[in-house]
Symmetry: C2
Subunit: 307 residues, 2 copies
Amino acid sequence: MSLTAVGSIAFDSVRTPFGARDRMLGGSAVHFSLAASFFTDVRLVGPVGDDFGEEELAVLRARGVITDDIEHVEGGKTFFWRGHYEYDMNLAHTDETQLNVFGDFQPKLSDGSRGAEMLFLGNIQPQLQLEVREACGGAELAGLDSMNLWIETERDDLLKAIGKADYLLLNDAEIRMLTDETNLARAAHQVMEMGPRVVVAKRGEYGAALFTEDHPFAIPGYLLEDVRDPTGAGDSFAGGFLGYLDGQRAAGLSPFDFDSLRQAMAYGSVLASFNVEDFGTERVASLTMDEIAERLKHFRHITRFEA
Amino acid sequence: MSLTAVGSIAFDSVRTPFGARDRMLGGSAVHFSLAASFFTDVRLVGPVGDDFGEEELAVLRARGVITDDIEHVEGGKTFFWRGHYEYDMNLAHTDETQLNVFGDFQPKLSDGSRGAEMLFLGNIQPQLQLEVREACGGAELAGLDSMNLWIETERDDLLKAIGKADYLLLNDAEIRMLTDETNLARAAHQVMEMGPRVVVAKRGEYGAALFTEDHPFAIPGYLLEDVRDPTGAGDSFAGGFLGYLDGQRAAGLSPFDFDSLRQAMAYGSVLASFNVEDFGTERVASLTMDEIAERLKHFRHITRFEA
């Protein structure tokens, strides 16, 4: 089992009502990889600058993430994001973005990266997502994330990239925006006609919904009293979701089976819930499989009902 | 088993992208009563004018709702609401409100109404909710609904009324507004300190969350491709929720037991999902217990996961 994740590696400076951190390890591919690492072997592809060093690599390696394909751009600086959250933590306020080496990112894929069975195309330019998908022609499955920016500015390329994805993960508002259809279920079915067999709508604190040709599936967010930093929650969700499915696939089970998909939704939610409990990668980096299992059990207890 | 519901009886003129209806039967106590009628004996208390007649009463009676305490105000007109929804049906736009007889509503409670074991204090002036609660001193349990208007204008009376309620049902934004706390779980625990043992946060299409001293519970909304008119969804939810709990109570089970509460959340969600499938009371008025059971089964299928 192996999963190649392509996307941003960053330093984040974040302030929330519960504290602040300066230049901590972040980026969507980092959050994704740490979460997925509990279920499969993850190889992380993305660019960093001279300011990225052993300390950051050690966080990834401690979780078994293969860092050989992290590209060090000599003389460059790592992608940097500075933002804050008010008491309503559903909304991130961006104060500063420095694309740095991420602005000229041209993914370089080793044989190891190309050999993965599952591919995650993180939120980067759709044209790059297409190139990576082609370069990894041997990957059985691809998940794709994107954002409103690309829907607005690179719609044609994005539609092509979506056409090559098996799993599409977007915020619910983005799925509506992509299709110009406000009913989420109808919008998701329109997206499936573009290519993906599975569409996942991320709904922030409200959880997530999944759509397949046969059945939808909905899961609420895990209710938490202490949310310290929501940055990366959606990426941790995606990592738990696709990581679990790659593990299922490797075990000989269908990664499109409804029972696999529902468990993947639950694991994604659990990983996202840990992510937001502390700043940046702090909570997920120290997480154990036992804690994940315990939370999944409690999550089931506080969501199940009988028919 | 018996439940007295006090609140608004209305005529609604509603326009949505999927059609329009003029002066159809509506009002929060009507939607509540029809939903609750599947689980317990419901007595509806509220004022109507000369324009309210046998046709409207027949809809309620066909579902077994006891209409003896609907007060006919001679020479008066029934509460009237006109509104519309855009394609985003989460937001109701009010075009016209005529309080009419509802503006001078002073609940008159028969011995039958006073004798109910469960009381539902619909969204009316908090001072009236308090008076009704006192008049029905024999009722074991009371559920209470309210709205942002009363939080802003009648806060002191509302806090007193909440102090007399066992179950509080509000929109999640209203729970945050009431407590000035943005974390929903923390806000709900603050509300419990005001009196209620159970706090339910209604979250529109995203479902609902419930809080008790011991455990929270969360349920997503039932995913629908066809939402024709969301008016009354929250009231139908409340009716399914409290109606089911009164049925449990009558069967000798604790209406605060977590297993009862989780089932009540599921039945509330199912009733709300039927409510929005057609205009006004049209869908729920023709609903059968078999359809409810079938949807509950499907709802469980598309939300359950294993630990």
